[in-house]
C-alpha cells in the first residue's frame, strides 16, 4: 500500500481532465530518478538486458559442459546446477517479464493511448528502483559464501532447502528475497499499466480501437497481478521453512543419514503454488509478444490485422483460461492422478484460440504488401518458432503423452522454442521497430539482417534437434549424460552441434548490442514515422517524444489502429488521429455500412 493517496489530492480542482505532470528540475531527476515512463522504460530495458547477458553467458557455460564435459574445469556439478537455476530464473522473470511489461509496457502504453504519462508516475519510478534492487540482490547470490542456489529454477522443496544442495546457506534465501522484491516492484508498475489503460486513454480511444500491443500488455499485466501473489506466498512459506524450521512444505526427511525436525509438510503444495504462478507466467510473456507481433506484421505488410476482434477475444480468453491449466506441469508429480483429465482438457482447449491467432497472422500476410524490413523478418521468425514450440506443447499438454516426455530434453526444447526463442525474436523485432521512435535514428539494416538470420536459424538449429534427444529418453538437468546405456555416441555429436550453434547465436547478440550503441550516433535519421504506421506513438509532434509526449494538445482518435491500404485513399495508411477526408462528415458509421 504505497502512496496511492499521492496524486489523489490537491490538484483535483483546477486541472479539469488533465493530470498534472511533475517537472524534472535537474539531470538527476530527468535521467536517473525520472518519473517519465519513457525513461523508466529504457531503464527497465537496459537493466533487463544487462542481467540477461549474464544468463546468456551461463547458457554458454552449460552448453559447453554438455558437449565437452570437463573442458572447463571450474564447472563441477554444484556450479552446473547453480548456472541452470540462475539462467532459468533470470530469463523467465528478470528478463522476459521485465522487458515486456516494464520496458515495452512503460514505453508504449502511454504513447499508444495518447496519454501524457502513466497515471502514478512516482509509483512507476519506485517500481523500477525496486526491480533494480531485486536484480542486484539476485546477482549478489554469485558472491555470497556457497554461491547462488542450485535447486533448479522451479525451487522445488524439499531439495531446495536440503543441506547438500548448493547455495542452501545463502543462495536460496537471496533468491526468495529477490523474487519477493521483484513482485512488490512489479505490482507497483502493474497497477500503473492497468489504471493507465482504464483511465488514461485519450479522447476517442475506445478499448476496441487500442492496438493489439496494448491489449497484449494489458491482459498480461492483469494476469501477472493475479498470478504473482502465488509465487509470493510460496516464497514466504519457503523462507519460513528455511529460516524458522517450519513444515509448510517439508515432510519427514532423512538428510545425510540424520532425520530433520520437520514433519508432515507437502512438497506438492509448493508445486501447486509455484505453477499457479508459473503457468500464467508463460502467457504473461507470450501475450505481449502476440500483441506486438500483430502490430509488426500489420504495419510492415501494410494491411489491417486480419480478424482484429478475434485477436482481442483470443487474448482475453487465453488470459482467463491460463489460470486453469497450471497442473499440466505436474502430471507426473504425484498429485491426485484424476486431475490429469481436467487439466489435459483445459490445456488442449487453450490451443484453439492460440491457433486462431497464428492463422490470423498468416492471413494478414495474405494479399498484403509485404516489406522485408528487419522487424518483419523477426515477426516471420517468431511465427515459425512459435508454431513449432506451440505444437510440441500439444504433446506435453496431452497428459499421457507427457508421461514419457516430461523431465526429458523434449521439455527443455519445447519451452525454449515457445517461450525463449519466440518471444525474444519479438523483443528484437520490437526494438528494431521502435528504436527510431526512442532515438530518432534507424538501427543499421545490414547488421540487423545478419543478426536476424544468425539468431533465427541458429536458435532453430539448437532447439529443434534437442526434441529428439528427449524422445530418446535423455533426461533434462543432467550434468553429464555420456554413459547412459541407451544413448548412442551420435547423440554426443548432436550435442556438440547444438553447443556450437548456441555459441554462434550468442555471438550474434554482441553484434546487436554493438548496433544499438553504434546507431545512436551513426544511424540514419528516421523522422517521426519511418514505417508509415497508424498508431499514435508515431504521430508525436517531436521524435523522440519529450516528457509529456504531445505538446499542447493530446491527440484525438478517429479510427481503429489498422487503417492500412484503405480503398480509395491515396496514402496506404491513415493514422488513428487522422480525421480522414471530409473530416466534418465523419460521423460514426452504423453496422449497415458494411
Amino acid at each position: 500500500m504505497v502512496d496511492l493517496t499521492h496524486g489523489g489530492d490537491g490538484h483535483a480542482a483546477g486541472h479539469a481532465g488533465e493530470l498534472e505532470l511533475y517537472h524534472p528540475t535537474s539531470w538527476v531527476t530527468k535521467y536517473v530518478f525520472s518519473q517519465d515512463a519513457k525513461v523508466i522504460a529504457i531503464q527497465y530495458g537496459t537493466t533487463a538486458m544487462a542481467i540477461g547477458l549474464v544468463a546468456l553467458v551461463l547458457s554458454w557455460l552449460m552448453r559447453i559442459q554438455l558437449a565437452y564435459p570437463g573442458a572447463l574445469p571450474f564447472i563441477d556439478a554444484d556450479r552446473y546446477y547453480q548456472f541452470i537455476t540462475m539462467h532459468g530464473m533470470i530469463m523467465v522473470v528478470y528478463l522476459l517479464t521485465a522487458v515486456f511489461l516494464g520496458g515495452f509496457g512503460n514505453y508504449l502504453i502511454p504513447l499508444m493511448l495518447g496519454a501524457r504519462d502513466m497515471m502514478f508516475p512516482y509509483l512507476n519510478m519506485l517500481s523500477y528502483w525496486i526491480y533494480l534492487l531485486a536484480v542486484l540482490v539476485l546477482a549478489a547470490g554469485f558472491f555470497v559464501p556457497g554461491g547462488p542456489t542450485g535447486a533448479g529454477w522451479t525451487l522445488y522443496p524439499p531439495q531446495a532447502i536440503l543441506a547438500n544442495t548448493p547455495g542452501q546457506q545463502w543462495g536460496i534465501i537471496i533468491m526468495l528475497v529477490s523474487l519477493m522484491l521483484f513482485i512488490i516492484g512489479f505490482t507497483m508498475g502493474g497497477l500503473n499499466y492497468v489504471v493507465t489503460v482504464l483511465q488514461g486513454r485519450t479522447k476517442g480511444m475506445t478499448l476496441m480501437r487500442m492496438p493489439l500491443t496494448v491489449w497484449g500488455i494489458f491482459t498480461a499485466t492483469v494476469m501477472a497481478l493475479l498470478a504473482f501473489p502465488a509465487l509470493f506466498v510460496g516464497a514466504v512459506m519457503m523462507l519460513f521453512d528455511r529460516l524458522f524450521g517450519t513444515s509448510f512444505f517439508m515432510p519427514s526427511i532423512i538428510a545425510m543419514g540424520e532425520p530433520l525436525d520437520t514433519a508432515g509438510g507437502s512438497p506438492i503444495l509448493f508445486q501447486h503454488l509455484f505453477w499457479f504462478f508459473g503457468h500464467p507466467e508463460v502467457y504473461i510473456v507470450a501475450l505481449p509478444a502476440f500483441g506486438i507481433v500483430s502490430d509488426l506484421i500489420s504495419t510492415h505488410a501494410r494491411k489491417n490485422i486480419f480478424g482484429y476482434r478475434m485477436m482481442v477475444w483470443a487474448i482475453v480468453i487465453i488470459g482467463a483460461l491460463s489460470f486453469v491449466v497450471w497442473a499440466h506441469h505436474m502430471y507426473v508429480s504425484g498429485m491426485n492422478p484424476g486431475f490429469g483429465f481436467f487439466f489435459a482438457t483445459t490445456t488442449l482447449i487453450i490451443a484453439v484460440p492460440t491457433a486462431l491467432k497464428v492463422y490470423n497472422w498468416v492471413l494478414t500476410l495474405w494479399r498484403g504488401d509485404i516489406h522485408f524490413t528487419v522487424p518483419m523478418l523477426f515477426a516471420l521468425g517468431f511465427i515459425v518458432t512459435f508454431v513449432n514450440g506451440g505444437l510440441t506443447g500439444l504433446f506435453l499438454g496431452n497428459v499421457v503423452v507427457d508421461v514419457p516426455l516430461s523431465d526429458t530434453m523434449f521439455v527443455v526444447a519445447h519451452f525454449h522454442m515457445v517461450m525463449g526463442v519466440a518471444p525474444i525474436l519479438v523483443i528484437f523485432g520490437a526494438i528494431y521497430h521502435w528504436y527510431p521512435k526512442m532515438t530518432g535514428r534507424m538501427l543499421n539494416d545490414a547488421m540487423g539482417k545478419i543478426h536476424f538470420w544468425v539468431t533465427f536459424l541458429g536458435a532453430y538449429a539448437v532447439f529443434f534437434p534437442m526434441h529428439y534427444l528427449g524422445l530418446l529418453g535423455v533426461p533434462r538437468r543432467y550434468f553429464e549424460s555420456g554413459d547412459i546405456s541407451f544413448v548412442p555416441p551420435s547423440a554426443h555429436t548432436l550435442n556438440e552441434f547444438m553447443t556450437i550453434a548456441a555459441l554462434i547465436v550468442g555471438a550474434a547478440q554482441m553484434l546487436f548490442l554493438f548496433n544499438l550503441v553504434w546507431s545512436l550516433r551513426h544511424g540514419k535519421p528516421s523522422g517521426g514515422n519511418p514505417w508509415g504506421a497508424t498508431t499514435l506513438e508515431w504521430q508525436t509532434p517531436e521524435t523522440p517524444p519529450p516528457h509529456g509526449n504531445w505538446g499542447a494538445e493530446r491527440p484525438v482518435v478517429y479510427r481503429w489502429a489498422y487503417d492500412y491500404s484503405v480503398p480509395g485513399m491515396a496514402k496506404d495508411f491513415l493514422a488513428q488521429n487522422d480525421p480522414g477526408p471530409g473530416a466534418a462528415a465523419a460521423a460514426p458509421v452504423g453496422e449497415g455500412a458494411r
Binding site: 486480419f306 508429480s333 482447449i349 530418446l472 533426461p475 491500404s565
Partner: protein, 280 residues
Amino acid sequence: MLIAIILALVVAGSILFHVLSPWWFTPIASNWGYIDDTINLTFWITGAVFAAVVLFMAYCVWRFRHRPGHRAAYEPENKRLETWLAVVTGVGVAAMLAPGLVVWGQYITVPAGAASVEVVGQQWQWAYRLPGKDGRLGVADTRAVSAENPIGIDPNDPAGQDDIVVQGGEIHLPVGKPVALLLRSVDAVHNFFVPEFRAKMDMIPGSVTYYWVTPTRTGTFEVLCAELCGVGHPYMRGTVVVEAEADYQAWLDQQQTFKQLTTPATTSALETRAGARPPL
C-alpha cells in the same frame, strides 16, 4: 524472396531431420505401446499443421512481397473462414486429446492382481521392497529409518517382517505380469524412470505414489532418476532385469527378508539359507 525459400527449407529440413533422425524412442519393453501410438498420432497431426502453416506463409511471403505499385487488400475479417478454421482446429485437438485421455485412464488404473513392488529413492540410490509370503507390505515411515533399516520399515509391524528388501539398485521383474510400482522417497523428490517402459512418476517424500507396467520382453534396462534431486541426480541409476518366471523365482529365493537383515549377525548366519548373500 530469399526468406520464402528459407522458410520452405526450414520445413523441408525439419521433416528430413525427423525422418532420418537416428535419435528415436528406445525399443519398447512394456504394455505402453498405446503411449507410443498416441505420440505418433500427435506427430502426424502436428507435423501436418506445422508444414501447412509455414509453407502457406512462405507462399504468401513470396506472392505478396512488396513491388512498386502493389497495394494490400482491405479485409478486416472473414467470419466464415475464422469459424471454419476454429472448427477444424477443434476437431484436430479433440482427435489428439480423446485417445490421450483414454490411455491416461488405463495408466492410472492398476489392474487387479498386479504384483506390488515398492521402490524407495534416496540421494542418490535406489532400494526395493517386495511383499513376503503374506503377500502384504508392512507399514513404512521415514522416521523409522536407521543405518540397519535404510528404507524405514516399521519394525513393530508383523506384516513387514517377511518383506523382501533389495538394496543395491538392481531389481528383477517377471516378464508378462503386471506390476504396480509403489514409489516412496526419504529425502528429495525423485522419479523412477525406465525409458523402455515409457512410464514415470515422481516420488514425493511423505507420500506414496504409483504407476503400473507390464514388462513385455526380457532384458536389462537402465533406471534413471528423472526429477532433479540434488547434485548427484545424473548418477542416480539402477537396473531393471526383466526375465522369465523361473529365473525370477531363482533370483527371488536369494533375497533376504527384513527380519533376516535386522536380526544380529550371529543368529542370522544360522538362519540364512545356503547361498544367500550376507546382509549388506
